[in-house]
């Protein structure tokens, strides 16, 4: 399965347009700050509405301006790791992680809480409030939350930006396994060339 | 008929509270269901009856409000009477040496203070008070030095605490408060008769309402009203006040 994206979204005075042809594996979105990478992920997740174009994952049409199709976010099955975390401040780390997990049908889950906390190294944090996590801790919880929601595609907006090299490597290995074993299409935003070169089978440069 | 007899619901003007409470107890002591008493301003009670509230007896402190009720809902024929009358007095704090300013030296008597009086537009006591002051030629002098209160008891309290050197209240109020003394009584001719009309709304369902009404008008009931400083109904008003005839206590001025 893979993304098939062609869309235009107005943002302030500009319009952000992108076309991503279907390609297996990880598609990296690359481009300078402020060019519109986050906007594209938002459009794929159903958080902003493009004025034209379409978004498909495999056979499923998430959005089609011409056909008037626009699935709501919860029907799209896109696990989204936001650039700004967006953890639920009133919930513990555990309940943040389990939020999507509790909502998804059992047969779509591909990872459980123990496995996720293991490779993310957040087992000791489970009963803490998310309000006082360090930057990198919050980022890892956000990754775990998205993976645990049993998504059919992943949208990752600089998911590793505040992590050290060791952690980064461990998480990248899990992402690669997800890509390979589950064949989840992944849209990946990063400024790190090395990361992108290692992961991506396709690099889309926005400009 | 009614399977479970219901005590009558009596809507009574707040100024009759003590007398009505004692009367209800005396009535209950005779083996009747104790009437339920609801005290508020006559106007509020009148409006409640006019909207069809299931009240069994209305004791108004103001004949205008009884007239108004009569014009809006029907009263049971022959049940409108006057249950009590009152007098209008000038009061001062207990330890004051003020006297009734007979010669018209009100400004001196007030000495920069205010004359506590219930609202002359809204409250009957204020209306009577204003009429009396006009009648004795004092209104123009005091009208800028009055403190108008929401009800008689508030005027009483102002004087009782010394926040006003003089006040005009009912005789029944004055004897109830030990903090004030009566320094003079306004002549009965200076204001319209102060009457407390009573009547049973037509939609009343309580069987005992008429019995309680009669009790209030009986010598035993009247002695209770007398104890609290009320006067007896005028002889001319007995036994029934004329059904829908305009009552005699028109305002001295519109």
């Amino acid at each position: 399965m893979s993304f098939d994206i062609d869309l235009s979204v107005p943002r302030g005075r500009r319009t952000i347009s992108v076309r991503i042809a279907p390609a297996a594996g990880i598609t990296a979105l690359f481009g300078p700050s402020g060019i519109g990478k986050t906007t594209v992920l938002d459009a794929v997740a159903g958080l902003v509405r493009p004025t034209s174009g379409h978004v498909r994952i495999g056979e499923a049409t998430l959005f089609d301006a011409a056909a008037g199709i626009a699935l709501p976010p919860e029907k799209r099955g896109c696990g989204y790791v936001f650039q700004d975390g967006r953890l639920f401040p009133h919930k513990s780390v555990r309940n943040n992680l389990l939020y999507g997990w509790n909502l998804v049908p059992e047969d779509r889950r591909f990872i459980n809480l123990g496995e996720a906390t293991e490779f993310l190294g957040i087992g000791a944090l489970l009963d803490r409030s998310v309000r006082h996590l360090s930057g990198g801790e919050a980022q890892r919880v956000a990754i775990g939350r998205a993976l645990l929601s049993g998504p059919r595609a992943l949208l990752m907006d600089e998911p590793l930006s505040s992590l050290d090299a060791d952690r980064r490597d461990g998480i990248l290995r899990v992402i690669e396994r997800i890509r390979d074993d589950l064949a989840l299409p992944i849209l990946y935003v990063s400024h790190d060339r090395a990361e992108v070169d290692r992961l991506a089978s396709q690099v889309v440069e926005l400009s | 008929k009614d399977p479970a007899p219901r005590p009558p619901l009596v809507l009574a003007a707040a100024s009759t509270q003590e007398a009505m409470t004692e009367a209800a107890e005396a009535w209950a002591a005779q083996g009747h269901l104790k009437p339920t008493l609801s005290f508020a301003g006559s106007g509020a009670l009148a409006r409640q009856i006019a909207t069809g509230a299931p009240a069994d007896l209305f004791v108004s402190a103001d004949s205008r409000w009884m007239d108004w009720v009569e014009g809006n809902v029907s009263l049971r024929h022959g049940t409108r009477d006057i249950v009590a009358t009152n007098t209008l007095v000038l009061i001062a704090p207990k330890d004051s040496d003020a006297a009734f300013p007979e010669g018209g030296d009100w400004a001196k008597a007030l000495d920069g203070g205010r004359l506590a009086i219930a609202d002359p537009v809204a409250v009957p006591a204020g209306r009577y008070g204003k009429a009396s002051l006009i009648s004795i030629g004092a209104w123009d002098e005091v009208k800028d030095h009055v403190a108008q209160t929401a009800d008689v008891r508030a005027a009483l309290a102002l004087v009782s605490r010394g926040d006003a050197p003089l006040g005009i209240v009912y005789g029944s109020d004055a004897i109830a408060d030990e903090g004030v003394k009566v320094v003079g009584r306004f002549p009965d001719e200076s204001h319209a008769p102060i009457t407390y009309p009573i009547a049973i709304p037509d939609r009343s369902t309580a069987t005992d309402a008429e019995g309680f009404r009669k009790f209030l008008l009986s010598p035993e009931g009247q002695s209770i009203f007398e104890k609290y400083g009320f006067g007896p109904p005028p002889l001319s008003g007995e036994p029934h006040e004329a059904g829908d005839a305009a009552s005699g206590d028109e305002e001295p001025e519109a």
């Binding site: 799209r76 999507g100 | 509270q17 509020a44 909207t51 069809g52 309290a157 009782s160 109020d173």
Partner: protein, 228 residues
């Protein structure tokens, strides 16, 4: 301490205030949500209407209620026809009056909390599979908890203190509509009853202090347990 009759008044006041809050809270929340989140034609009008019981003298509100729910009013006739019941002279009417007087305070408190919520958290919940309703229940509602708690405290206090609309609408019937403020008013009509007034006033204060403590405790617990 209090006499049995005074305890009965306290009990009645609690019943009326509790019923008023239970009745009004969902309505207040719905109104707050509309005013905070939706832009629609007539929004300012709705906002003004909600404030009405605050601006109008309570007596006028009571009078309007009387006109509407009296035996001849539209609401009164409907209640009579549908349920064979009336609000007049009943504690249910006192609860309605108290609830309506509390409504503007409750709406404002909840609305302030709703407006302070970062709506991106709700969209995050949606991407995790939550329907709009579930996102609302699991994110919006608990994050609005401080406002809801404030609404309950304010509304409860306002209900406990409500006088003018109540006495105008449902009169001053012992054991039915004579709540604490009406009992205090009744006592105030008797010179020298200050002792009783003071006792009843202290009872009011103690009740609202209890409400305050409970609400602060709930908010703190809600904030700490992360169960919501």
């Amino acid at each position: 301490m209090l006499s049995p009759a005074e305890w009965a008044i306290v009990g009645l006041s609690l019943k009326v205030a509790a019923a008023a809050i239970v009745l009004t809270l969902p309505i207040a929340f719905a109104l707050a949500w509309l005013l905070a989140r939706k832009r629609f034609y007539g929004r300012m009008l709705l906002d003004t209407l909600v404030h009405l019981p605050l601006v109008l003298p309570p007596v006028v509100t009571g009078w309007l209620l009387l006109l509407f729910f009296g035996a001849g009013g539209w609401g009164g006739r409907t209640l009579q026809a549908l349920f064979g019941t009336t609000l007049m002279f009943r504690w249910t009417g006192a609860a309605l009056a108290a609830g309506i007087m509390a409504l503007p305070l409750m709406v404002r408190a909840i609305r302030l909390s709703l407006e302070a919520i970062d709506t991106r958290l709700e969209t995050a919940a949606r991407t995790l599979g939550a329907s709009p309703l579930r996102a609302f229940a699991s994110i919006t509602l608990p994050l609005a908890l401080p406002g809801i708690a404030a609404a309950v405290v304010l509304g409860f206090a306002r209900s406990l203190g409500e006088f003018g609309a109540t006495i105008t609408f449902v009169s001053n019937v012992p054991d039915e509509t004579r709540t604490l403020p009406l009992a205090i008013y009744t006592a105030l009509q008797v010179p020298g009853a200050e002792a009783s007034v003071t006792r009843l006033a202290i009872a009011s204060v103690v009740l609202s202090l209890a409400a305050l403590l409970v609400s602060e405790w709930l908010v703190r617990k809600g904030g700490r347990s992360y169960v919501l």
